[in-house]
């Protein structure tokens, strides 16, 4: 069985006299179970050789083929065409991955991506005498790390990270997940230095926990979860003198107090009411929230049953 698919591909040719992006439609016939990548390969091998994209393994392991489909980052090779064809028969919208800058068609610039990976000193730094045989380590610790190590550096998370959209300085989910791979490694002797480094501007505290990276990651790496784990470790190690750490503490404080997140007070507590510069940076977010009707109430009341919330806090804190 075959199916009739129309792809609407966002293209960009830097060699054109006046480079500008444009959309191009391709109509193709595909086997039923085909992937999005099968479709794109068919286009470039048989119809239009000028279409540029990266791909290699066709089995979600090489990390080459991240791109946006219908507005969301995916790996083209493990995305079934059927699953992304709109019900109304309109074309499948294919765009380059976001936040990285387009080089040509679906090929984006990975220079900054690799630069950020390098910035977290992504290599094991053991100390002391090297053993004759292997370092001993519990299997559970290794299996836990294998979950992060499964990252294939595809950049899907970076493409859709909401912070990177506004702040290019942010290390981003992939680099932070890579950092966690060493922070969490029992053989690495520099956990503290690493955490301290990652506490700087652009590091772990700049994540807003929007969950995008978790949702788009094709390998279940859970970058946000790893970032949160590092925050716990950083706080435990005493690295809390930052906006981000104060944000977390303020967050906890507010929830304990009112049972929900008071989004107006949070930045004030984090930055301090007189830190006009930082507060102004938030103005656009505030305005956008207003436009979609998501402005928090000015004087929130504690939720009913706030005592129970506070009791949960006491329990958790007693456990720590």
């Amino acid at each position: 069985m075959t199916m009739d698919v129309t792809l609407n591909v966002k293209r960009y040719n830097p060699d054109a006299a006046k480079p500008a992006s444009y959309n191009q439609e391709y109509r193709i016939d595909l086997e039923d179970g085909s992937s999005l990548l099968d479709g794109l390969i068919k286009v470039r091998e048989e119809m239009d050789g000028t279409l540029a994209l990266r791909c290699s393994c066709r089995s979600a392991i090489c990390g080459s083929c991240a791109m946006r489909v219908n507005g969301r980052a995916v790996l083209a090779c493990n995305t079934k065409m059927k699953d992304v064809m709109p019900k109304d028969g309109s074309p499948v919208k294919v765009e380059p991955a976001g936040n990285m800058g387009v080089v040509k068609d679906l090929i984006v610039n990975f220079d900054v991506f690799w630069g950020k990976i390098k910035a977290v000193k992504p290599w094991l730094q053991p100390e002391g005498p090297v053993p004759q045989g292997e370092y001993l380590a519990p299997n559970e610790a290794m299996l836990h790390l294998a979950g992060v190590m499964g990252c294939i550096m595809c950049g899907a998370c970076v493409s859709d990270c909401t912070v990177l959209e506004v702040d290019k300085n942010f290390l981003g989910p992939a680099a932070l997940a890579k950092a966690y791979r060493f922070v969490g490694d029992p053989r690495d002797a520099h956990e503290k230095d690493r955490l301290k480094d990652l506490t700087k501007y652009g590091g772990m505290w700049d994540c807003t926990r929007c969950m995008q990276c978790v949702q788009v990651c094709p390998k279940g790496v859970d970058p946000m979860g790893r970032i949160m784990k590092m925050r716990d470790k950083a706080l435990a190690a005493g690295y809390n003198n930052t906006y981000g750490a104060r944000h977390a503490l303020a967050f906890t404080d507010l929830v304990r107090h009112g049972g929900h997140l008071d989004e107006l007070r949070l930045p004030i507590k984090t930055f301090g009411i007189f830190n006009v510069k930082e507060m102004l940076k938030l103005a656009p977010i505030g305005m956008r929230s207003q436009m979609v009707g998501k402005v928090p109430p000015l004087f929130p009341k504690p939720i009913p049953g706030i005592q129970n919330v506070r009791r949960i806090f006491e329990k958790v804190e007693a456990k720590r």
Partner: protein, 560 residues
């Protein structure tokens, strides 16, 4: 023009291991790779890497014997001994650099069983061992400061006065063509999978390095030895790792019968790959298959083990075969997977051309002979990558750059490229269909079973396809990421590989290892215990043979 002491071509396991070894020896090293290092095909290796660790009660001699037997006695035993002796220290070295390996209850490295071996000696990380190793080498290369030319595509090698002294390379992002001068060049460009369609290999596995070395005058050896892996998916050729069988999975036919008992009663599913693939193909040919496949049954392994150790291939089964191995058997069939042959080297990686080395899948040392054991390839890349790096570094220390290497080399390549871009559009086609037909032809006539007539048909067809290839047009005339041009050039490399595979297969008049001829079904040690070596000439390959090195294991009847 750029200058380096040692230029490594390829950033897979072999290339990065070579680069590290050379850089540790204190010379100036650079790596060129057509994809970002971690995109190299080594990342796809699933099952594991072999080593006999003495403190586990294993012996390198046993590993070596299993390898010799697996090779159907075509492997060179001096090289095999080196590989198996050095295996342990390579694994430990990789662990020290940071590789996450599965552990046993004491926190030491754990092992799993793999095919063709009497002892479990395969070290692994779930089912993405290649990725785990590749990323660690990448980390170390980043740390070392070795320069990596990422997404640069090698167009040709430079040979002056009989010595290799550099390469001409295209920077893909700008389309610029550069000359890189080097005192030694190490080829680590991986396999030729895409010459066959389908294949377990990635789209970048187009045999560039073999063709480049062959064109530069280095001979290729044992090209007829193509491994078909017993468990690949029908839809897209994706691999279901041997780890599944290593963990205890069964192969059954349409009657639910574990048919391997009739072909390899002792080792069953874990016999050598050539043996299992032939058995499966026989089942299928004799009508006991299921839609051209047999079934890989993992159900009895249980959900926990599957999720923990085979999670990635379970997902591949779900994605590409609509079968969840926890609940149902997965249809699989033999599929093209690996090339045992390649650029002929000695056990220091040196080819017949001074200054030119090769390591990894692109090289033929030869440690795999007629059939590679599962999990011996990763080992091969590390051991011989390291040795090539060390040897090349030692050789360049007192050497000067060849004076004759100038930008004239890159100018010549630019002209060739321009000629391709300028081909008249009328009557020409894109490369895609030609590539597809080439792959299908190879897969039809040079598969698990071969015969004279089929191979001759293949030879004729490939010749015709090559004529079509000479007229293929390139739509893209731009400079930036002209992937259309790159694929077209790769297809040219693939033709060189295809041709030598066929010539080698026609030459070898016996059945040995992966080369099984239905018209000559017996192994013939009296006449064919030797390597088939091919040199390029304008009239086609010139063939020489070379004796197999035997140290301690005389050929015997091979049964599992």
């Amino acid at each position: 023009m750029f200058d380096h002491d040692v230029l490594v071509i390829g950033a897979g396991l072999a290339g990065m291991r070579a680069a590290l070894a050379a850089s540790q020896a204190g010379v100036n090293v650079a790596v060129v790779t057509k994809v970002f290092p971690v995109r190299s095909h080594s990342n796809a290796a699933q099952g594991g890497i072999n080593a006999a660790l003495t403190d586990r009660g294993d012996k390198w001699e046993d590993h070596a014997y299993d390898t010799v037997k697996g090779s159907d006695y075509l492997g060179d035993q001096d090289a095999i001994e080196i590989m198996c002796k050095e295996a342990g220290s390579e694994i430990i070295n990789m662990e020290h650099m940071g590789t996450i390996f599965n552990r046993d209850a004491e926190g030491k490295l754990g092992v799993r069983a793999f095919g063709g071996q009497r002892q479990a000696r395969t070290f692994f990380v779930a089912d993405f061992t290649g990725q785990a190793l590749l990323y660690v080498l990448h980390e170390q290369v980043m740390k070392s400061g070795v320069r990596v030319y990422e997404e640069w595509f090698v167009l040709s090698l430079i040979v002056e006065g009989g010595e290799c002294c550099g390469a001409v390379v295209m920077e893909m992002k700008t389309g610029e063509v550069h000359t890189i001068r080097a005192k030694a060049v190490i080829m680590a460009t991986g396999g030729i999978g895409r010459v066959f369609e389908p294949s377990t290999n990635a789209l970048i596995c187009t045999g560039d390095g073999m063709a480049l070395a062959y064109r530069a005058g280095a001979p290729l050896m044992d090209m007829e030895m193509i491994q078909y892996h017993p468990t690949t998916l029908k839809s897209n050729g994706a691999l279901m790792s041997e780890a599944a069988r290593g963990e205890g999975a069964y192969l059954i036919n349409k009657d639910g019968d574990r048919f391997m008992k009739r072909y390899a009663p002792n080792m069953m599913e874990l016999a050598s790959r050539d043996v299992v693939s032939r058995s499966e193909q026989t089942e299928i040919n004799e009508g006991r298959g299921v839609n051209g496949c047999v079934l890989l049954d993992c159900r009895h392994l249980g959900e926990k083990l599957i999720k923990e150790k085979l999670g990635q291939i379970r997902q591949l089964g779900i994605d590409f075969a609509n079968a969840d191995m926890i609940k149902e058997p997965v249809p699989v069939r033999p599929g093209m997977h690996y090339v045992m042959g390649g650029i002929r080297t000695n056990y220091d990686g040196l080819t017949s051309i001074p200054g030119l080395y090769a390591a990894g899948e692109t090289a033929c040392v030869s440690v795999h002979g007629g059939n590679r054991l599962g999990a011996n390839s990763l080992l091969d890349t590390l051991v011989f990558g390291k040795r090539s790096g060390q040897h090349a570094a030692a050789g360049v220390k007192s050497k000067q750059h060849a004076a004759g290497v100038t930008d004239a080399y890159s100018e010549a390549e630019k002209k060739k490229i321009q000629a391709i871009l300028d081909r008249p559009a009328d009557g020409g086609e894109l490369f895609g269909k030609v590539r597809q037909e080439l792959g299908e032809t190879m897969n039809k006539y040079l598969a698990v079973f071969r015969d004279q007539q089929g191979m001759e048909t293949a030879q004729r067809k490939v010749k015709e396809l090559r004529m079509r290839y000479e007229k293929v047009i390139v739509h893209d005339k731009g400079r930036t990421f002209n992937t259309n041009l790159i694929f077209t050039l790769e297809l040219g490399f693939m033709f060189d590989c295809a041709e030598t595979v066929i010539v080698g297969a026609l030459e070898r008049k016996e059945s040995r290892g992966a080369h099984t001829r239905t018209d000559m079904p017996k192994r013939d040690d009296a006449n064919w215990l030797k390597h088939v070596v091919q040199f390029r000439t304008p009239e086609g390959p010139r063939i020489e043979d070379q004796p197999v090195k035997i140290t301690q294991w005389q050929p015997q009847v091979r049964s599992y």
